[in-house]
């Protein structure tokens, strides 16, 4: 059989990363059958138990030496991806990244190809869009960890290039539920908008609750952010506190295309009730698509270097829209959409109203 090792967190704080990816993969196989090039596809699931690089590395190593997988896939968190990079290189196994979003990831091994996104990739368009639409004085608030800091930098750069200015920046501690004082500061400095980057889930919710409670929206301050704060998966939980939020991202469940309809259809059938599909499910879905293409091109005989040759420059239409793999960086090139949170029939969606095509990771 064609073996794929799926390494991702299935328990602990990032448990739903694993769930999403697994469901995305199942959805693809549900649609396109579980054999390719005559080989039965077998997905071996491994739990990294949350941010735990050494376990991720161990699991990957065991998948390679014990189970002799043909592909390594998954990788919810950057450190886990980085830790595994060595293994991919040593074992010459293609490594399909389905989430880990720091720019550096793809540089750590020639066998890595990323089908999710790179943070700066979605941040920069937001800044230029803001400047273009008369939002010039922006306050940034990001979680105090690498992704937060990267996006802060990317946003500042793009905004100032576009003629706007960042009036003030705050970095908030990671595990801190209390946003009131920060929000008060924002209120005091009266910017036109505040750019937010915090982990999806209770942090995002807490921020928006505080934002509404203190009536910053009423005071005419906009919230702009990258899409992971209004992740389709948590959007309904945030409810009306999020409505009107403007975000930039590469995928929305509300994206209007036949591919997306088909994907959501399949997702519903394999993971019904498990909540809405989000960008990780899509990345996994596309990753599988790529694996199938490689497998059939090599008609079943997977060789690391050949596989990478095929992956480089691969192009197809994903549920999120057209995507491609940059031959030099093995990183994804895709359209980034500007969306607004709206209530459609009792549910909240990110409705796309503007887009920037063929965005590369400006970080490289």
């Amino acid at each position: 059989p064609l073996k794929i090792g799926l390494v991702a967190p299935f328990s602990g704080p990032f448990a739903d990363y694993g769930k999403q990816m697994d469901a995305g993969i199942k959805a693809y196989m549900h649609q396109h059958g579980d054999t390719v090039a005559g080989r039965k596809v077998e997905v071996i699931v491994r739990d990294t138990t949350g941010p735990s690089p050494e376990i991720a590395k161990r699991l990957a190593q065991e998948l390679v030496v014990r189970d002799q997988v043909d592909f390594l896939a998954g990788f919810g968190l950057t450190p886990e991806a980085l830790a595994v990079a060595d293994i991919a290189t040593q074992a010459k196994k293609p490594m399909i990244v389905m989430n880990a979003a720091s720019s550096v990831v793809t540089t750590k091994s020639p066998y890595i190809a990323r089908f999710s996104m790179a943070l700066p990739q979605v941040v920069a368009p937001l800044a230029s869009w803001a400047a273009k639409n008369g939002i010039r004085r922006v306050f940034t608030l990001v979680s105090d960890y690498a992704p937060g800091i990267d996006s802060e930098a990317a946003f500042k750069k793009a905004l100032t290039e576009a003629g706007g200015e960042v009036v003030d920046s705050i970095r908030v501690p990671l595990r801190s539920p209390e946003f009131a004082p920060f929000i008060q500061r924002i209120k005091d400095s009266q910017p036109q908008a505040v750019f937010v980057f915090v982990p999806a889930g209770e942090q995002g919710i807490a921020f928006m609750k505080g934002f509404q409670e203190r009536g910053l929206g009423a005071a005419g301050i906009k919230v702009i952010a990258t899409g992971d704060i209004t992740d389709d998966h948590v959007l309904d939980v945030m409810g009306d506190v999020a409505s009107g939020m403007i975000t930039s991202f590469h995928y929305s469940a509300a994206h209007d295309s036949p591919e997306n309809k088909a994907f959501l259809q399949a997702y519903e059938e394999v993971a019904g009730g498990g909540g809405r599909a989000n960008f990780m499910a899509v990345a996994a879905y596309d990753g599988m698509n790529a694996i199938y293409q490689v497998a059939s091109k090599l008609n079943g005989k997977i060789d690391g270097d050949k596989a990478m040759e095929i992956l480089k420059g691969m192009k197809f239409t994903s549920p999120r829209g057209p995507i491609a793999i940059d031959p030099d960086t093995r990183d994804i090139v895709q359209t980034v959409y500007i969306r607004r949170v709206e209530n459609i029939g009792g549910h909240y969606f990110n409705v796309e109203f503007d887009h920037v095509p063929d965005v590369r990771d400006p970080g490289k």
């Binding site: 448990a15 769930k19 970095r171 595990r175 009131a180 008060q184 409670e213 409810g239």
Partner: protein
């Protein structure tokens, strides 16, 4: 900036109140009963989920759920005390740690199984959302509510434990179970009641906490540090201690974040270390 100073102070007190509410249950089970109950967060989480369920399924108003949550979780606690906890009172603290961590893991997995790994929504009633503005100061309605709740619970608990015969018997039983029993104090009954009280409070804490802390299966582990902080800094064996500790932590954390955001999380840990350097047994620690 007088207004903002007051505002910050208020927010700090409110945040402290929240910290206390989610920890008060533990200051009963661990502080008073001297059982290192790391599963406290699990009871809080249970309270949270129950609250959400009652609001969504049964469509109950938020406030009405709280007493029910208290009773239900207290019952759960009592049941667990009778079946499991009871056997570990004379076990070492480390065994208790291992046991209660085990329970926590089970609770986390169970919650994931039942409710899935993602956040739960709560809709507060209108009058608890938004702010009111007496004399130019912005006061969050929900925060006022928290402060009131804390004042009430602290006072009630303190009187119960320090002034009533029941309180004295609880302390006696904890100090020395054999001696207490030998003098006719029904230790088992006292313990099951106290434990139920502690877990019930934990449940309520979880319920009122959701709005700010959110609610997902990792709750018990995510906030374990906060519970421990409050109880340890406050000092085992008292209610005033943890209350004071929580307020201090809250005020300093908020003030720090407002005036020196760069300092980030260092403020709170720094404060805690200094406090413990001066009060190794906690603010109101019981003598060893």
């Amino acid at each position: 900036m007088a207004a903002s100073v007051l505002g910050v102070l208020f927010d700090g007190v409110a945040y402290g109140s929240l910290l206390f509410l989610i920890s008060v249950g533990l200051s009963v089970t661990m502080g008073l009963m001297n059982f290192v109950n790391l599963a406290h967060g699990a009871f809080a989480m249970a309270g949270g989920y129950l609250c959400v369920a009652l609001m969504q399924r049964a469509g109950m108003p938020f406030l009405a759920t709280l007493p029910l949550v208290f009773l239900a979780i207290a019952l759960v606690g009592a049941a667990l005390e009778r079946t499991l906890y009871r056997r570990l009172y004379d076990a070492s603290h480390l065994d208790q740690v291992l046991f209660s961590i085990g329970l926590t893991f089970m609770a986390v997995a169970a919650a994931t199984y039942v409710w899935g790994p993602n956040q739960q929504p709560v809709r507060l009633p209108g009058f608890l959302r938004g702010q009111i503005h007496p004399g130019g100061v912005d006061l969050g309605a929900y925060r006022l509510f928290l402060i009131g709740l804390v004042a009430a619970t602290t006072l009630a608990l303190h009187l119960l434990m320090a002034k009533t015969r029941f309180g004295a018997r609880v302390r006696a039983s904890v100090d020395n179970r054999a001696a207490a029993a030998g003098l006719g104090i029904p230790v088992d009954r006292i313990f099951v009641l106290t434990f139920a009280l502690g877990t019930g409070l934990a449940g309520v804490g979880g319920a009122v906490g959701i709005d700010v802390l959110g609610l997902d299966p990792t709750f018990p582990i995510k906030y374990m540090v906060y519970f421990l902080l409050v109880v340890a800094i406050g000092g085992a064996g008292s209610i005033k201690g943890p209350a004071l500790a929580a307020l201090l932590l809250g005020v300093f954390d908020v003030a720090g974040k407002y005036y020196v955001p760069e300092a980030g999380a260092f403020i709170i840990y720094g404060l805690m270390l200094t406090l413990l350097a001066f009060f190794p047994r906690g603010l109101y620690g019981r003598k060893a």
